[in-house]
Each structure stands twice: as C-alpha cells, then as structure tokens.
C-alpha cells in the first residue's frame, strides 16, 4: 500500500469512528455533560463553598481541570474498547483484517477515534464548566500535550482491553475496578498535600495523578508534583502500550484463528 492509500485507510477508520460516537450521541456525548453539571453543582457550588480555597484557588476552580481530565480519560477508553470489541463481536473487524491496511494504520485509526471522542467530551465539559466558573490557561503546551497524550494512552489501553475481551462484561471490568478508583484517587477532587505522608507516597505511584496534576498545572499554574516527570512518563507509557497493541495485532491474538 502506498503512503497515500494508507492515509485514505486511516481517514476511513477515523471517519467511521467519529460517525459512530456522534450517531449514538445520547450514549456518548450527553451523559458526561450531565454528570459534569452535577459534579459542578454539588462539589463546586454546594459543598465547594464550604471547603474554601485549595492551592490558592476556589474549590470549583481547583476541581474543574480534574473533572475535565476524568471525562477525557473515561471517554477515550470507553470509545475504543466498546467500538473495537463490538467490531470483534459482530465480526465486522474482518472487513479490516482481510484488507491490505497495515496493522499500525488500524491501530492509529482506532486510537485517533478515541482521541476524537476524548477531546470532544473534554470540550463539552469545559463548556459546561464555564457556566459555573471562569477558566484560563496558564501554559498552553502542557495543557494541550497532556490532553492529547492522555487520550492516546487510554485509547491504547481500551484497544488492548478489547483485544483480550471475550464478553461485554470483560470490557466493563477495567473501567469499573481499575480506572474509576485510580481516577478518584488521582487528585481530581483534592490536593495530595492533604494526605498523610504514607498515602502521598502511595498516590505518587498512580499514573493518573501525574496526568491530572500536570493538566491542572497547565490551566492553573499550580502543581503537587514534578511536571517534567509527568510529560516524560506519559510519553514512555504511550510508547509501551503502542508497541504492545501493535504486537497483539500482528500476532492476531484473539482476532485470527
């Protein structure tokens, strides 16, 4: 396949993925908007007013970047895991497997589909937050880099989950038992400086904490951790998951008999 043919194949997958999540917008784009409004009302307005400042910002300002990241993470993951597993389940993935599309294009197409949904939901949530607080960007590069790479990372994770999954239950296990706890303990709602020393050390092992913290730095300019470590660590994780996902595609694990 020539480079231009590969580009066409990539755009085809990406277009299909965007069409899919916009077609079912009631399941994909609306729920995070409603959930985030509830978060902003309850944590931002009702409870946040009593909490006071955190890191020099009002609680609603502090929590907004974390909520945006939470939406980006869960939606990027959910998009790829459900779309790829559903293609596997209906066997429509065979349309791609019999075609000359190289494995890395298949992977990039699905991952960029996940990024598209993660970023779209991130923008929706950001727009919702503007009804409750004013936002500004302290460091554009960090903000955009973290959003993009985080959605890439969790799209890749969703892809690997979908490859291994045999049932729809298998697709929901990781988000329920791994992703949600890590996100909630990932500094979305609090600064880790509030934790005892031991739990601060434990929290540092949570990669989502670094992503949320770096994103908050990009928006507010405050940080509990080293930002450079988050950027480098995130890049390394993306490379590792990309290699694993590509290897699984190449070997045909649970895709080819």
């Amino acid at each position: 396949m020539t480079a231009s043919e590969q580009w066409i194949a990539f755009l085809t997958i990406l277009r299909k993925e965007i069409k899919r999540f916009t077609r079912i917008w009631i399941q994909t784009l609306l729920p995070p908007a409603i959930t985030m409004i509830l978060y902003f009302v309850i944590f931002g307005k009702l409870i946040g007013g009593r909490i006071g400042d955190m890191g020099g910002f009002s609680y609603i300002e502090f929590v907004a970047p974390g909520l945006i990241m939470m939406a980006v993470i869960t939606n990027a993951y959910a998009n790829v895991s459900s779309s790829f597993f559903s293609a596997k389940f209906q066997r429509s993935i065979e349309e791609l497997l019999v075609s000359p599309t190289p494995n890395y294009i298949i992977l990039l197409g699905y991952v960029m589909g996940g990024v598209a949904r993660g970023v779209a939901v991130g923008l929706i949530v950001t727009a919702m937050s503007l009804f409750f607080t004013s936002l500004h960007i302290h460091h554009w590069f960090t903000t955009l880099f973290i959003v993009f790479m985080t959605s890439v990372l969790f799209s890749l994770a969703g892809f690997i989950n979908a490859i291994y999954a045999n049932t729809f239950d298998d697709v929901s296990i990781i988000p329920t038992f791994v992703l949600t706890p890590l996100t909630y303990f990932g500094g979305v709602f609090y600064s880790i400086n509030l934790l005892p020393e031991f739990w601060q050390q434990v929290s540092v092992l949570n990669p989502i904490l670094h992503m949320v913290n770096a994103f908050r730095y990009g928006m507010l300019g405050i940080s509990d951790l080293h930002i450079g470590m988050a950027l480098v660590g995130l890049t390394i994780l993306v490379v590792i998951l990309f290699v694993i996902a590509l290897h699984l595609l190449k070997t045909g694990k649970r895709l080819r008999a």
């Binding site: 194949a9 997958i13 069409k19 209906q90 429509s92 349309e95 019999v98 000359p100």
Partner: protein, 315 residues
C-alpha cells in the same frame, strides 16, 4: 496465453492447519486455480473449505505451507496479494448498525481507493446487486438475501481479480439464487476469477469449470467438472408412463425397479445407450411421457468419493 496468464490466480502449496495442536483441519493441500477460471471447492461440513478460505484471506493463521494470489505471497507481499482478492464469507460479518452505503464505502477506503472512485464504485456495485434503493438503510433492516448481496458488493468494490465466495447462496430462495448465478457468470465472463464453496452440487455443475473435492483436510479429487462427470459408471433414470403401469418391464442388461403405479427406475451403465432402453420399452408397448435423473449425478459421485476417502482414512 500471455506470461501473466500462466501465473495462477491462486496457488496453494502443501497447506497445513492444526487447531490447538490437536485437530488437523488441513493436511497439506496443494491447489492451483488459473486466471479466468470458475472453480468449485466441494466438501462436507468440517472438510477444511472454510479454513482454506480463512488462510487465503488471512483470517486464519496457517501452520505451514504457502499461498500466492496472482504470484504475490500472502506472507511476504500481503498488501499486493490482498488487493487482488475479494472474499464473501459464509456468515454475515458487517456492522448491523451501519448503513448499506457506508459499509461498502468504508471497504473501498480500507483498500486505499480515493473518495471519488470509492463513491463511483460503491454506486456501481450497489446498483448491479439491486441494493441502490436500500443504500441509506441500516444493514440490520435488510432481508437475508439482501445481506448476502451486500457482502458481494462489498467484496467487489475494490474490483479484485480473484473473488472467493464461501457458500454464497446458502439459505437464499431459488429466484435469488438464479439471479446470483447470472451475476457471477457475468463478472466471470468479464475476467474475474471465481472460487466458490457450496453444498449445492447443482450450483457447482451449473457454474463451474473445474472442481476440487475436499474431505477431512485432504483433496480427494481435483479435475474439471466434465472429466469428473465422465467418471460416472452408472446413472439411474426415472420414467413416468402414460396412465397406470400395468406391469414392470423387463429390460435386457438393465436393472429395473418400480417406484409407484405411474413410474419406474432404470439403471444405465456407462457404455449402454438410452436408445436401447426406449427400443425395449416400445416393444413392450409402454408409453413414456417423461424421464429424469433419479439424483444429481455429481451428488452421487461426491458421496461415493467422500465415503471412499473415509474408508481409506479409517484403514
């Protein structure tokens, strides 16, 4: 014959597939299908037909052996090999939620067809397969026959030189089956090499020029339909008489058996003529109003070959 014509459309060499290191689905089959051919792969369920197609289309990993499509190796030159190939699987394998047009357009995109060309070829094949009116319909809303035609349109949208169909007319009504046959004959006449697996031996006899019979992972027979039929030693004909059959005729050199009060059957061995049968019937004042084969000739041969192979495997 040009040099390109001498390269097989499909060349399979010593292909083996063992599932889970236990079940040997293919035991080293070799096969060449020449360009322009209309080729049938016959075999009972579990013979290895779908496994072979799965390997050719890269949905099944082979254990060993080599496959080339128009001289392009599916392992070392997979992109070129796949461009020559279109596959219509046995079971529906498209997203039930997507629209007919989107399914075909996407497939064109996966083969790298520019958008304008993809749109034109999607329209061409949806029209040829009478699905153009349904282009905005989600696939799940189509009838079974329409779904089959959708898979054919999808497999043809990048205009492959080799089209493989795995039981394309299974479960479709007679009218649709006949119209599919006409369509396949047309694209074969236009130059597309076609390989099909089928359970309908009448289909193979009607459409195909060459045939491979597969059983228990081996090729039992690989020849032309014509020479296969010439191997028939015996055929059974059913004769319907005018009025009631008063008595069972005695035909010299033939076994005769009564079926009911209006018909009887006669065995005709290779070398015997039907003229002789009619001469004897006329002499016995039996008037025949119609006659037909008792069973599909290929079917008899197919069953005989498969049974012979089973005995060989068991011994």
């Amino acid at each position: 014959m040009t040099p390109a014509d001498s390269i097989p459309a499909l060349s399979i060499k010593n292909l083996r597939k063992t599932y889970n290191e236990k079940f040997e689905a293919l035991k080293g089959i070799s096969l060449d299908v020449m360009p322009g051919d209309f080729f049938a792969m016959l075999g009972p369920n579990g013979a290895g037909k779908s496994t072979s197609i799965g390997i050719i289309s890269s949905l099944v990993r082979k254990t060993s052996g080599a496959v080339e499509v128009f001289g392009k190796n599916i392992d070392t030159d997979f992109s070129a090999a796949k461009k020559h190939l279109g596959v219509v699987p046995q079971e529906f394998n498209f997203s039930m939620f997507e629209k007919v047009e989107d399914i075909v357009l996407q497939q064109a995109g996966y083969y790298g067809l520019p958008r304008k060309q993809a749109v034109a070829q999607t329209e061409k094949y949806l029209k040829q397969l009478s699905l153009w009116d349904k282009r905005q319909t989600p696939a799940r809303m189509l009838s079974g026959g329409m779904k089959r035609r959708l898979m054919i349109a999808r497999a043809l949208v990048h205009e492959p030189q080799l089209l493989i169909l795995d039981e394309p007319t299974a479960g479709v009504d007679i009218e649709l089956r006949r119209s599919m046959w006409d369509f396949l004959r047309e694209i074969n006449a236009a130059g597309t090499t076609i390989i099909l697996t089928t359970h309908y031996l009448e289909e193979a006899e009607s459409l195909c020029r060459n045939i491979a019979i597969i059983d228990s992972g081996t090729i039992v027979q690989n020849t032309s339909i014509k020479s296969l039929l010439q191997q028939l030693n015996k055929e059974v004909f059913i004769f319907d008489v005018k009025g009631n059959l008063q008595y069972l005729p005695v035909l010299d050199g033939h076994h005769v058996a009564e079926i009911d009060e209006h018909s009887f059957e006669v065995e005709v061995e290779k070398g015997q003529s039907l003229n002789g049968v009619f001469a004897q019937l006329t002499a016995q004042q039996i008037e025949i109003v119609s006659m037909r084969n008792k069973a599909n000739r290929l079917e008899e041969m197919f069953v005989a070959m498969v049974n012979a192979n089973k005995k060989e495997v068991q011994s």
